[in-house]
Symmetry: C2
Subunit: 364 residues, 2 copies
């Protein structure tokens, strides 16, 4: 399998290359972009142990001068302090404006490395090499970068488009099952917000929680359809002034849950799964979508082994309070992305605190 | 006096409004831009004492919900830690994506407030209200924002264009004389790199070190010609991929001096003045510009009461080492902006370490 999807953003356009064994071609792929000779590979301890050697060998073979910066594993290190350490490496290795940071890892690595690239010397190149399903279908595409504020996720960040996204599905073989399931949350999201055909395809599968249960053609289809959906939306609205907000389906309440539980109880995909269940419930309450669709989405989320209930002991009022710090707040009103039919969502600020209390109250 | 200069950057275009008493119109000027109702005024203790009340009154009168964040005075606070505190204020006051940060102050305030706006919620509005001559003619225009790294100036930053630059020359009345002189360094720079007429005008003045010696029409001319020069260059090259680098005339060695002396001995303008003397000396050594022009530039810099010698005790080898971390380094070669005639400069990487040693050695 090999496919190339173009993200069309004028002078900032770039390719998403999906290729089995693509990691061995990292050097030649970046070489073809005519960037500077210095690269800094940013990765985490676990990913680097698996794939660091392969990535660096490929880069050196293509003539790059390679340095690396290894992050500890975990969302809790996605902070200004972690960022400062990447800056120190950038300085130590004398990165120049023509240099490239290569993000080899999942969403945390991609966000931090991307934000470091966005802000070092007021912006250097970044290439995303996502190693988790979630990063492949979502985080690595579209240029959103950033770190967390102690009081909210991704509050500090920038839009900074990569020069290339290189996806090698082979690396998913070492992905822990819980991480695969987290990625499936975003895949299901694309089915609900954009691609009814993808949704139907997922419905046909018996299980979505482990790769070994996937039909042979499912993974290529999941990757290309999800990346295409993301590329379509981002190409139409780079900086989230309109359409792009639909990608946050499930994320509004999802982020709040992650934040209130200190990023320790649910991972991002699990938060999104619970958030999609909640958003679907809100849409039913508002009479925007029928309970049969709600049931079908719920079934998919369960089949992917994802949570559909709130973490135990969660304070719903704390969730409501946290929603007020959401980036999508406008004139103090929280804007929700709610589904109207499979493949279509809409944006609304008509959701009252009482309806949120009602729906979340049922999800305890 | 009132003039409006347009910075032409497509959808990111904006006006520089120069108007005596303009601070009283801050609210109506921003109101005309149709941004959100929440604003955060970022200023420093000294400036806020002089102009905070006036600015806030004007904003409130125009219907804005106003909060403020006061920075300590000084370049030494232009750090990630200082930035973190602005983020905390942004969170506390619940800034939204449609909100605006207003930078009321000199270059440090403008850079920090601008970078906070560039990176809070991945980018909110910023309006620059420069209160120093240096910020008026240079820092507030063109979207360069950032903070210092312990080992180098402005290494961390982003391009983020303001929605408006509002210049009220009245505020210069409270500007300390040393700060006025610092701004004159940038004004002289525009004469050398872009505007021979401005250079000639400055040559006609007896003294340039204090406003009370200025001919009546000089200040309006200085402001509009300098802002026009900056707007011309930035409009042609927003992100410093080519032409814009000429604005760094005098800054390469200037930055290095500031950095090596811990930002405590010379201010930015003084660094630039010394840097221009050095660049001019390099250009003479390379046979690119004649010693008569060198002498004329030196005379202007002296007339503005600016330093023309290196700070005492400076280690030239340390300067050379620091140059290697300059943002303009490409393939490990430092790129210098050197003059060829009054009003024209060129970019070169032909300057060897030995020539730098020679020229700086004479400036001790």
């Amino acid at each position: 399998m090999q496919s190339v999807i173009r993200v069309d953003l004028g002078p900032q356009s770039y390719d998403i290359t999906i290729a089995s064994g693509g990691l061995d071609e990292l050097g030649t792929q970046i070489g073809a972009l005519n960037l500077g000779k210095k690269v800094l590979v940013v990765s985490n301890q676990m990913i680097f142990r698996h794939y660091g050697e392969k990535a660096i060998a490929s880069l050196q073979k293509a003539g790059f001068e390679v340095a690396s910066h290894i992050l500890p594993v975990g969302e809790q290190y996605k902070t200004l302090t972690g960022l400062q350490r990447i800056y120190n490496s950038a300085l130590e290795h004398r990165l120049e404006r023509s240099s490239t940071i290569i993000a080899l890892g999942g969403g945390v690595v991609g966000d931090m490395a991307g934000f470091a690239a966005a802000t070092w010397l007021r912006g250097i190149n970044v290439v995303q090499v996502p190693t988790s399903l979630l990063a492949m279908v979502d985080a690595s595409i579209g240029g959103k970068t950033g770190v967390n504020h102690p009081q909210g996720k991704n509050l500090i960040g920038a839009f900074h488009q990569p020069r290339l996204v290189l996806i090698d599905p082979e690396v998913l073989k070492t992905l822990p099952p819980r991480e695969l399931r987290a990625g499936m949350a975003e895949v299901i999201k694309y089915g609900v917000i954009w691609d009814a055909e993808l949704f139907a395809q997922l419905e046909k599968c018996k299980r979505l929680d482990q790769m070994r249960y996937f039909p042979a053609d499912l993974l290529p289809e999941i990757l290309s359809k999800s990346c295409q959906a993301k590329a379509d939306v981002v190409s139409k609205d780079e900086k989230e002034s309109g359409l792009r907000a639909i990608l946050n389906y499930g994320h509004t309440i999802g982020h709040a849950i992650e934040s209130v539980t200190g990023y320790k109880v649910v991972n991002h995909g699990e938060g999104v799964a619970i958030g999609m269940v909640a958003a679907s419930g809100l849409a039913v309450e508002l009479g925007m979508w029928d309970s049969e669709c709600d049931r079908r989405q719920l079934a998919l989320i369960q089949k992917a082994g994802l949570p559909i209930k709130l973490p135990s002991g969660l304070d719903i009022e704390e969730i409501l309070e946290t929603l007020q710090t959401d980036k999508k707040v406008q004139d103090s009103k929280v804007r929700f992305i709610l589904p109207t039919q499979i493949g279509v969502v809409t944006i609304t600020d008509r959701v009252t605190a009482d309806v949120i209390r009602l729906v979340l109250g049922r999800m305890g």
